[in-house]
Subunit: 476 residues, 2 copies
C-alpha cells in the first residue's frame, strides 16, 4: 500500500511526485500531458473554489460560462495574444464527422470569445462595470508534464471585467490582486510577494500584469495568481464600445485575472514534509481524523465513543472522519492519514476513555497533547486555527531566511545556485540585462514588488542607475 | 430593454427562446452550436449542482476530474459505444503546432477514459465499490441549436461506479434514479415518470438504461436524467478486474449516470408563463425581490426600510435583492423581476410603511397579500415553501390532464397530434412496431414505467399480446 516517499533532501522533484500520486491527489492519464485529479485533490480544489468564489461574489462578480471552442479568426484579432498562445493550442479540425471550414481552438484562455460577447452586451455606461468570472477547463499544450504545475489541461477561474474608465479598471486589477493575496495568506497559509511583472513576463495582450509569487521549500518561486490590466487592447480588437454618460462612444477598459489548480501544487510544496501532505486546516477536506484503538471486545465501546466524538465535532461545523477499519493496525492508519495531510489526529483507546480524554496529535509538528472529551467541541476549532497560523508563520520564516539582498553579480550567481530563494537586487529596467541574467543563471525577475521602497542603486549586471530592488528567483 | 415575449399559444418554441435570451439565462455565441450561459442561468445551474452534489456525497460518492481528451484508440474499444458517439464528436488533430499521431476526441461522455483509469486503480474487492462523479463540459456536435436543450457543448455531471456484483451495480443504478427523481420533484417542482428505456433508446454500451421523463407545457416529454446499468461491457473492454474475496479474478460491474444543463430548459418549460420565467423557490438565485416605491424625498425613508427588510430576510437564510434604482418606474421593475422569475415580490411604499406592512405578490399566480413587517422573517420562508408546492401541484395537474390511456392506433395518431401528452398504450415489445409508430407519429416510447402495473392488452399497432402499458410521447 504505502510506497516509499523520496525524502526532500534526496530529490525534491521526486518527493513532490511521490506525495501527489500517493496521497493521492492526482494521477497520470493515458492522454499525453493530461492528469486525472483524484477525489482528495478535487475536494481540495472545491474548497479553494468555494472560498475564492465567495470573495468574488462579495465584491460584485457573477459567474457565467463561455464556449470551450474559439474560432481561429477570433483568436487572431489581438496580435500579441495570438503570437503568445497559438503555438501551445489544441486545435479541432473535425466536427460531426466532417472537416471544419474554420478551425476551432480549444480555449487557452477566453479573452477573445468573451470580449466578442461583451461587444454585443455592452451598449451604454449603464451596462458598466461588467464583472464576470468563469470556472472552466483550459488547454495549453505541454510536452513535459508535472502534475498540477504543468499539464496540458488544467482547471482554473478567469475573471473578465469591463469598465468605463482606466482608473476603475486599474482599481479592479488591484482589488483582485488583493483578493488573491488574502486567499493565499488566510486560506493557503502562504505568504506572497505582490508585484508587477516585467514586459518580458507580461500576459500576451495586457498593458500591465500583476502577480503574487510564493516561495516553495526548495527555494524556487511559484506564480500563484495573475491580474491583468488590459487597457483598451481587447476592446479595440473586438469593438467593445459604449455610449458614455456625456454622450459620445468610447472603448471599454478591461481586466482579466486567474488562478488555477497549480495552487494545489503550491500547497503541497509549501507545507508538505517527508511523511506526505500537510494541509492547512481551512482548506483540508478532512480536518480531524479520529482513530479508535481497540483489541477484541473493546471494539464496541471505543468505536462507539469515537463515533460520538465525530458527531459532536461535525455539529461544531468541522469536517471529520472516523477510521474504524478492522484488521489494520493503528500505526498504519496514522501513517495513511499523515500522508493525506489531515491537520489533527485524535487517538482514542480504552485507557483514554477511562481517563476521559483523547490524545491529539498535530500533523505538522507531531505535537501531542491530551484533550478532555467533554470540551472537544470548544477546544478543537481554536486548535485548528492555531495550526493554520503555525503553518503560515513557518512558511514566512522559511521565506525570510531564503530572501537575500544581493548587490554584486558574482554573489548573485553563487547564491542563486545554492541556497537559492528570492534575491533582491537592483535592475536597470532593460530587457537586455533581464535576458542576460536569465541566460547566465536561470533566474527571472519574478516581480517588481508593489511594497518595495525606493532605493538608489546600480543594476546587478550593467551598473546603470536603478531606483528599486526587484525579486529574482528560479521559478516553476 | 424589455422586448416582446411571444405568447406560448402563438409559438411555444419562440416563447422558449424569447424567455431564455431575455431573462437572460443564455445567449447564442459566435461558435456554431455553442451557447453562452449568462449569470442568471449559471447561478441557477450552481444551485442545481450544489443540491445534487450534496445528495451524491450523502450517498458516499466523491468528485474527481478526468481528461477532456480521449485518444481515438480508447473510444474504439467498446464497439456499441464508438458507433453511438463517433459521428457526433469534435476531434483534435493538431496540438502544440504539430499534427498529432493519434487523434484526440473531445469527450462526448467519459466512460472510456474513466474505465481505463479504473483498470489501474482497482486491484481487489477491497477497492470496491468505487463511487466517483465528475462535473464537466461535454461536446456532442449539433447542427440545430436550441439553448440548453440541444447544444454542441453543455455542462453536466457524470457518475461512474464499479461494483463487485451485478446486484450491487443494479442497486446503484436505481439509487441514482431515485436521487434524480427526488431532485426533480423536491427542487425543480417537476413530477417525473421513472422507467426503463427500450433497446432503441438505450445508451450506447449499456445493458439497461433507466430514465426520468417530464412533461413540458407544450405536452412534449423531456428526458431529465439517465442512469445506466453497464453490466461488464466496459470492464471487459478496459480490463477492469479485481481479486474477489474468494480469491479468483473477476470483472467489475459498472454504472454511469448523468444530468445536464438541459434541466435548466426543463425548469423554463415546465413553469414559465407569458411574462417570463417562473423559478421554484428552492432553486431561484433570488428568492425575494424588494421594490421600494417612492417619490422625491420619500426615498431615504422607504429605501432605508427596504434595506432593513432585506437584511432581516438574509439573516433568515433567504436569497434577497433590493431594487433601489432611481429613474426607473416601479411597474418597469415589476416586469423585469417577473421576467427573471423571482418567486416573491415585496412592494414597499410610504403608505405601507405607515401601515407597518409590505405588499407581497407571488410570481406564479400574482396573488397579492399584505404582510406585517414585524413577522416577515417568520412568514416568508413558509410562503416560499407553499409556492414551491403550488408549482409542483400545477405541473402534476397539467401532466395528469395530458396523460391519456389509448387502445387504438387511430385515436393514438389523433391525440398525439393534439393535444399531445403522455399516451399510455400497449406495445408488443418489438423494435419493428416501435420504429413504425415513430415513423407514423413522431412519438417514441419515453419509458416503460417502473411503477406501471401489469395489465393484459394488445399492441397498439400489431395487436400482439402485451403485459403492460408504456409511455409514448413526442420528445425534446
Amino acid at each position: 500500500m504505502a510506497e516509499r516517499i523520496t525524502p526532500r533532501t534526496e530529490d525534491y522533484s521526486r518527493w513532490y511526485t511521490d506525495v501527489v500520486t500517493q496521497a493521492p491527489l492526482a494521477d497520470y492519464s493515458p492522454v499525453k500531458g493530461c492528469m486525472v485529479i483524484r477525489p482528495l485533490g478535487m475536494a481540495l480544489w472545491e474548497n479553494m473554489r468555494d472560498a475564492l468564489d465567495a470573495m468574488f461574489k462579495a465584491t460584485g462578480h457573477e459567474n457565467a460560462y463561455f464556449p470551450l471552442f474559439i474560432p481561429e479568426s477570433f483568436i487572431r484579432k489581438e496580435k500579441a495574444h495570438i503570437e503568445g498562445f497559438a503555438p501551445e493550442c489544441a486545435v479541432v479540425t473535425i466536427g460531426g464527422g466532417k472537416e471544419l471550414e474554420e478551425k476551432l481552438y480549444v480555449r487557452p484562455t477566453s479573452e477573445t470569445i468573451i470580449y466578442a460577447m461583451y461587444a454585443k452586451w455592452i451598449k451604454s455606461y449603464r451596462d458598466l462595470p461588467l464583472l464576470i468570472n468563469q470556472w472552466a477547463n483550459i488547454v495549453r499544450w505541454e510536452m513535459r508534464t508535472r502534475l498540477f504545475l504543468r499539464t496540458t489541461e488544467f482547471l482554473w477561474q478567469e475573471g473578465h471585467t469591463a469598465h468605463a474608465t482606466e482608473r476603475e479598471a486599474m482599481e479592479e486589477t488591484l482589488k483582485i490582486l488583493d483578493i488573491y493575496d488574502t486567499f493565499a495568506r488566510e486560506w493557503m497559509a502562504l505568504p506572497t510577494i505582490k508585484g508587477i511583472k516585467t514586459a518580458a513576463e507580461r500576459f500576451a495582450g495586457a498593458v500591465e500584469t500583476y502577480c503574487i509569487e510564493a516561495l516553495m521549500q526548495d527555494n524556487k518561486s511559484l506564480q500563484a495568481g495573475t491580474s491583468h490590466h488590459l487597457g483598451q487592447n481587447f476592446a479595440k480588437a473586438f469593438d467593445v464600445k459604449f455610449q458614455a454618460e456625456s454622450g459620445g462612444w468610447e472603448y471599454a477598459w478591461n481586466t482579466s485575472w486567474g488562478v488555477s489548480t497549480r495552487l494545489i501544487g503550491a500547497v503541497v510544496m509549501a507545507h508538505g514534509d517527508d511523511n506526505g501532505l500537510v494541509l492547512p486546516p481551512k482548506l483540508a477536506p478532512t480536518q480531524v481524523i479520529i482513530v479508535p484503538i481497540f483489541k477484541g471486545d473493546e471494539k464496541q465501546r471505543v468505536v462507539g465513543a469515537a463515533e460520538e466524538i465525530a458527531a459532536t465535532l461535525r455539529r461544531a461545523g468541522l469536517r471529520v472522519k472516523m477510521d474504524g477499519r478492522e484488521g489494520i493496525r493503528p500505526g498504519f492508519k496514522f501513517n495513511e492519514w499523515e500522508l493525506k495531510g489531515v491537520p489533527l489526529r485524535l487517538e482514542l483507546g480504552p485507557k483514554d476513555l477511562d481517563a476521559g480524554q483523547a490524545m491529539s496529535v498535530k500533523r505538522h509538528n507531531r505535537e501531542k497533547a491530551p484533550l478532555p472529551l467533554g470540551s472537544l467541541a470548544a477546544a478543537v476549532p481554536p486548535l485548528l486555527a492555531k495550526i493554520q497560523q503555525n503553518l503560515f508563520d513557518a512558511a514566512l520564516a522559511r521565506r525570510e531566511a531564503a530572501t537575500h539582498v544581493i548587490d554584486d553579480y558574482e554573489s548573485f550567481k553563487r547564491v542563486i545556485d545554492s541556497p537559492g530563494g528570492f534575491l533582491r537586487s537592483h535592475w536597470c529596467g532593460s530587457a537586455g540585462c533581464e535576458e542576460a541574467i536569465k541566460n547566465d543563471t536561470k533566474a527571472t525577475i519574478r516581480c517588481i514588488s508593489t511594497d518595495a521602497a525606493e532605493e538608489r542603486g546600480k543594476c546587478l549586471r550593467c551598473g546603470e542607475a536603478s531606483t528599486r530592488r526587484v525579486h529574482f528567483a528560479r521559478a516553476y
